[in-house]
């Protein structure tokens, strides 16, 4: 090949342009700290990185959900614990009130405390977390029991929130499970003085208590109990009236309701420990995907820095040699 001025010039210009381009791309990798700066840099890795980012975003989102679920369930747990403690006290007071040796004065004191407790329990039933009534099911904008004599105003809907790609967790306890007589056994009791007490749950989950005479036919008294709080309230009224038979009839609802609260406590505890595990799993997945994302997209600074040093050295050599080639021609020697 016949080498002439143009070829030399062209070759040098192209080589310098090529080196400049290499420096530019290497520098881009350094300045963005990423080796993929556009899909065409490495399409497969770009799509992988995009998928990892979506995955990491989901994990972050699920973490938020889990945090919310935890907050919400912890609130429910506190309420249910309080309820349990309250039932313990109701139990004590009832035992005390039913004790034959007690007089009307002490029964009055029991009645007063039970009345307060019934309103305290109503407060628990209508407690709110972040603006929502927690025991009203899906009707969380409404009180579960607008008054102490109301039947359940909520529904049995579960608020399920996604805690990972495939699982959901119910984060609420509906009031019908805790504060109504849903599932109360329809049975009868016979008192030591041969009177009969009949229990019958109604369709609205209230409880109808009938006290019959020794002939088991004459109805002495009918008590309609709208809900558990109403039951405690009516119990206090019975003590106030010194009516131990009525109090005896009403006291049956305490162990039943307390048992429900214990079940709820267990369920909430189980859910909370599941959430804790879920959090750990998510922390692990988060770390794994972050590592994968970094492998795919992040620059290895040492490698790129070495690369830049190499390019720089060859660019310098190129400049030096081109300066030599172009500094002289035969024309310089014509005198």
């Amino acid at each position: 090949m016949r080498i002439n001025s143009q070829i030399l010039y062209k070759q040098i210009v192209e080589s310098i342009a090529q080196k400049n381009w290499e420096i530019y791309t290497a520098h881009e990798k350094l300045s963005t700290s990423k080796k993929i700066n556009r899909p065409s840099d490495d399409t497969t890795s770009y799509i992988k990185a995009t998928n990892y980012k979506v995955k990491l975003n989901s994990i972050a989102q699920f973490k938020k959900n889990v945090d919310y679920a935890e907050g919400s369930l912890k609130f429910v747990e506190t309420q249910v614990n309080d309820l349990n403690d309250t039932f313990d006290r109701v139990d004590e007071l009832t035992t005390l009130g039913l004790n034959a040796t007690e007089d009307s004065v002490s029964r009055n004191a029991v009645a007063e405390e039970l009345k307060n407790i019934s309103y305290f329990m109503l407060g628990i039933a209508n407690s709110k977390y972040e603006g929502n009534y927690v025991f009203s099911g899906l009707k969380s904008d409404q009180k579960s029991f607008p008054s102490i004599t109301s039947t359940y105003n909520g529904d049995s809907g579960q608020i399920n929130i996604p805690i990972d790609e495939v699982s959901f967790m119910g984060i609420n306890f509906t009031g019908d499970k805790l504060f109504t007589f849903n599932g109360f056994p329809n049975e009868s009791l016979t008192t030591p003085d041969n009177k009969h007490i009949y229990y019958a749950t109604q369709t609205d989950n209230s409880l109808k208590i009938e006290i019959r005479d020794t002939d088991n036919t004459t109805v002495l008294k009918t008590i309609n109990v709208a809900n558990v709080m109403d039951g405690v309230y009516k119990l206090s009224e019975a003590f106030k009236k010194n009516d131990t038979l009525e109090a005896r009839a009403l006291s049956e609802i305490i162990p039943f309701s307390k048992n429900k609260a214990i079940i709820a406590q267990t369920e909430v505890g189980a859910k909370l420990s599941r959430l804790e595990k879920q959090q750990e799993t998510m922390e692990e997945s988060d770390a794994i995907y972050k590592k994968l994302l970094s492998n795919v997209q992040d620059t290895d600074i040492t490698v790129v820095a070495t690369e830049i040093a190499n390019i720089q050295a060859s660019l310098e050599a190129l400049r030096l040699s081109s300066a030599k080639i172009f500094s002289q021609s035969l024309l310089d020697f014509l005198r």
Partner: protein, 539 residues
């Protein structure tokens, strides 16, 4: 033989060397002109005269000035310029499109979709939270804007391409005119004898090369030395005659005519072909899929949203604006579309269709992208044709070859928006009067992973990623093609420059050589003069 003849011989040498120095200077002055072919003086012996039994030389003559020219390499370079013209514009445009979808260092459509779903997910724990509902509506609006910005960026690229096509057509015509003028001059100047007008031929070659970079051309030299230049088998230039290349837009696609014939399909190389191909890529691949994604996703979202209940316990309305304005184009003499609307939102597939009228008053509804026949039947004026959720009524007499283009996508993003403004109207419950019910919200959230018929049985992310990766792959291969073509071009170009280029050292040597010869010739004249002087002094 007289002493005076020595003067003549010296004179021929002086003139010849002077010419050679001129040519050398011309070479030196064009050392950086890439289209210039090095020239060389061809020296010959002057016809000798007979003296007795022998011949006496009469000096030197300039027989010609030859340019170093390799027709094969020049033709190859012209062809390679054509390939390179196309691959370099394709690389330019694919990288521009790629930047629109590049989310490596910023947030784009993928990010907006994710944020929208995040807002929905945030609501899942507390569906009645008004502030979170407002965030959802805002994120919906951001998503809509992102779709619109993406479309706008692509439309901007398209406008630039259209402008460039206009410029390129003008350039083709101006080169055509210049070639015609050069043809005339070359034919005129070379009409006598065999001498070639080197510099004008270099210029003509350069113009042809430039033209080839723009569009695929074929050319040959006429017997009168003028060049015939053809695009798509039609003459752009024939000797001194020039035909103008014209362009018109038909439905967003440029059509080219030369010498009365539509040559659009025959434009297969050069920048022009690259521009037209890029336009096709943006229209038929990128914009089509972008609009399909927006339309398919929002339609499905609306369908689910409408099955839920809002905070006022009313059934949900459309969350996003639904398809209302279906774009159509009519290619018929006597028939026209009298009614067009959505027939069933659940059946919408969001494609683009042609209703083609065939012989015997029958019609086919054809998918523009895969040419599949969706439905066909007998044409009855005024009777609705229903396909993929769309109902079209054509009225009037049709004839074979009539065609109607139906696109639920073309103007979709222009009207696209979030329809709901009152946060209470976001329908997230599946039951009325259930403010904490998130069942419908979960169904909406499920759209993240749900494959949709209108998105080619992919979910939203898969569909978008397929598009982004396709653009990435196109850009990568355009880059690889460009590098390959550039290398080949450089290779040929180097060979051509090696054969035709100027070497300054060579020219310096020539300069000394011819200067020395010139000095020697002057000496000859000086000697002749002295001889003459000696004789004169004898008198």
């Amino acid at each position: 033989m007289s002493i005076l003849s020595i003067f003549d011989i010296g004179k021929t040498a002086l003139l010849a060397n002077q010419t050679a120095i001129s040519v050398t200077s011309h070479n030196i002055s064009n050392v950086n002109n890439p289209d210039y072919s090095r020239q060389e003086v061809i020296l010959g012996v002057k016809t000798p005269i007979k003296i007795k039994d022998s011949f006496l030389g009469r000096g030197v003559s300039v027989d010609g000035i030859k340019r170093s020219y390799d027709k094969f390499l020049t033709d190859m370079l012209v062809n390679q310029e054509n390939t390179l013209g196309k691959s370099s514009i394709l690389k330019d445009i694919t990288s521009q499109i790629e930047e629109v979808f590049n989310e490596a260092n910023r947030e784009g459509l993928n990010g907006a979709i994710t944020k929208f779903f995040n807002a929905l997910e945030d609501l899942s724990v507390n569906p009645s939270d008004t502030s979170k509902r407002i965030v959802l509506i805002n994120e919906g609006n951001s998503l809509v804007s992102q779709f619109k910005i993406t479309e706008k960026s692509l439309e901007d690229i398209k406008s630039t391409i259209h402008l460039e096509i206009n410029d390129v057509v003008k350039k083709v015509n101006s080169i055509g005119k210049e070639l015609t003028e050069l043809n005339k001059k070359i034919a005129q100047l070379e009409a006598w004898g065999n001498a070639q007008v080197n510099d004008l031929r270099d210029k003509r070659d350069a113009l042809l090369k430039e033209l080839s970079g723009i569009v695929n051309v074929t050319s040959y030299e006429n017997s009168d030395k003028s060049l015939v230049v053809m695009i798509g088998m039609r003459n752009l230039v024939n000797g001194g005659v020039f035909n103008e290349l014209s362009m018109e837009q038909i439905s967003d696609t440029p059509r080219f005519k030369l010498d009365g014939i539509d040559i659009s399909e025959r434009i297969t190389g050069g920048k022009l072909s690259g521009l037209v191909d890029s336009l096709g890529l943006i229209n038929n691949e990128v914009l089509y899929k972008l609009r399909k994604l927006a339309a398919g996703f929002s339609n499905e979202f609306n369908i689910i949203h409408k099955t839920g209940y809002d905070l006022n316990s009313n059934l949900g309305k459309d969350f996003f604006t639904s398809l209302s304005d279906i774009h159509y184009e009519e290619y018929s003499q006597n028939a026209a579309i009298s009614f067009i609307s959505v027939n069933n939102f659940s059946n919408l597939k969001f494609d683009e269709y042609y209703i083609n009228i065939k012989a015997g008053n029958t019609y086919d509804v054809v998918n523009k992208y895969n040419n599949q026949i969706i439905t066909s039947g007998n044409y009855i004026s005024g009777s609705p044709i229903v396909f993929d959720g769309i109902s079209v009524t054509i009225s009037g007499a049709v004839s074979e070859g009539d065609s109607f283009f139906i696109s639920p996508l073309k103007t979709f993003l222009k009207d696209f928006g979030v329809k709901i403004t009152d946060p209470k109207e976001v329908a997230l419950a599946s039951l009325p009067n259930s403010s904490s019910d998130n069942t419908n919200l979960l169904a909406l959230l499920n759209l993240k992973n749900k494959t949709l018929g209108s998105l080619n049985n992919q979910n939203v992310y898969e569909f978008y990623n397929t598009l982004a990766s396709k653009i990435g792959v196109l850009s990568t291969s355009a880059d690889a093609n460009l590098k390959f073509d550039q290398n080949l071009y450089n290779e040929i170009s180097n060979k051509k420059i090696a054969a035709q280029g100027v070497n300054l050292d060579e020219e310096a040597v020539n300069l000394i050589r011819y200067q020395r010869s010139f000095e020697a010739a002057a000496k000859v004249i000086q000697v002749a003069n002295e001889l003459y002087d000696t004789l004169v002094k004898l008198l």
